[in-house]
């Protein structure tokens, strides 16, 4: 596609439930990034992929967060046993090469009650 597509736009989960978010990067873009934005400001890096390979996962809370980018499928970010502090907007971004402009999706707002 011509733009980064994220689904769902909104997701509400009870504390302890699982949440799964999806991201379809721009066609031809090899790199995918996930960011978490809390309180409309701070942009926290979670994980990046080069094609289906994890490139950097230093930002991931590994005990509950996992992510995948499989061939011919949207990338996904999954949170097991959500906590209140996971409430945030999760942004996916892609770019064609290892450098240059990041193209962002519109984000998925996760609310944990």
């Amino acid at each position: 596609g011509e733009e980064v597509a994220q689904t769902p736009k909104h997701l509400v989960r009870g504390e302890g439930q699982k949440a799964k978010l999806y991201c379809a990067p721009i066609k031809g873009h090899s790199y995918v990034f996930w960011y978490q934005q809390v309180l409309k400001n701070e942009f926290k890096f979670l994980i990046s992929f080069q094609n289906e390979n994890v490139f950097d996962e230093t930002g991931m809370p590994k005990e509950r967060f996992s992510a995948k980018c499989l061939p011919n499928s949207p990338c996904s970010l999954e949170i097991q046993a959500t906590k209140l502090e996971d409430s945030a907007v999760y942004f996916c971004a892609s770019r064609r090469t290892g450098a240059g402009e990041l193209f962002f999706g519109e984000g998925s707002r996760l609310t944990v009650l």
Binding site: V4, Y31, F33, Y35, K40, N41, E42, F43, K44, F45, S48, F55, D56, T58, F91, A93, G98, A99, G100, E101, L102, F104, G105, E106, G107
Partner: protein, 111 residues
């Protein structure tokens, strides 16, 4: 892990005023980008600076990359309500791979 600090965190000014926001780090970046994010949307790239001391202009916006490539500034001349948004700087490491973002400056320009 590079840490990017942006200041001020919030800025509210009147239309027509000038302003400068800052992005500082103790790390050296191979490149630095500025993005603007509007409510309900993802950030959109404004500019990329690569060379130490580089100055780039985008209409009323002037971006500068520090000589040591550790800091950057964004100056807006004669701000307009349409400039309202969250301004984020993002730095790339020497491999030009992962982008780390600052916490942003939330700018409000009042008519």
């Amino acid at each position: 892990t590079q840490l990017l600090e942006q200041s001020p965190q919030f800025l509210s000014i009147q239309e027509g005023e000038n302003l400068t926001v800052y992005c500082n780090s103790s790390s050296v970046f191979s490149s630095l980008q500025w993005y603007r994010q509007e409510p309900g949307e993802g950030p959109v790239l404004l500019v990329t600076v690569v060379t130490g001391g580089e100055v780039k202009k985008l209409k009323r916006l002037t971006f500068q990359f520090g000589d040591a490539r550790k800091d950057s500034s964004l100056h807006i001349t004669a701000a307009q309500p349409g400039d309202t948004g969250l301004y984020l700087c993002a730095g790339a490491d020497n491999n030009n791979n992962d982008m780390r973002f600052g916490a942003g400056t939330r700018l409000t320009v009042k008519p």
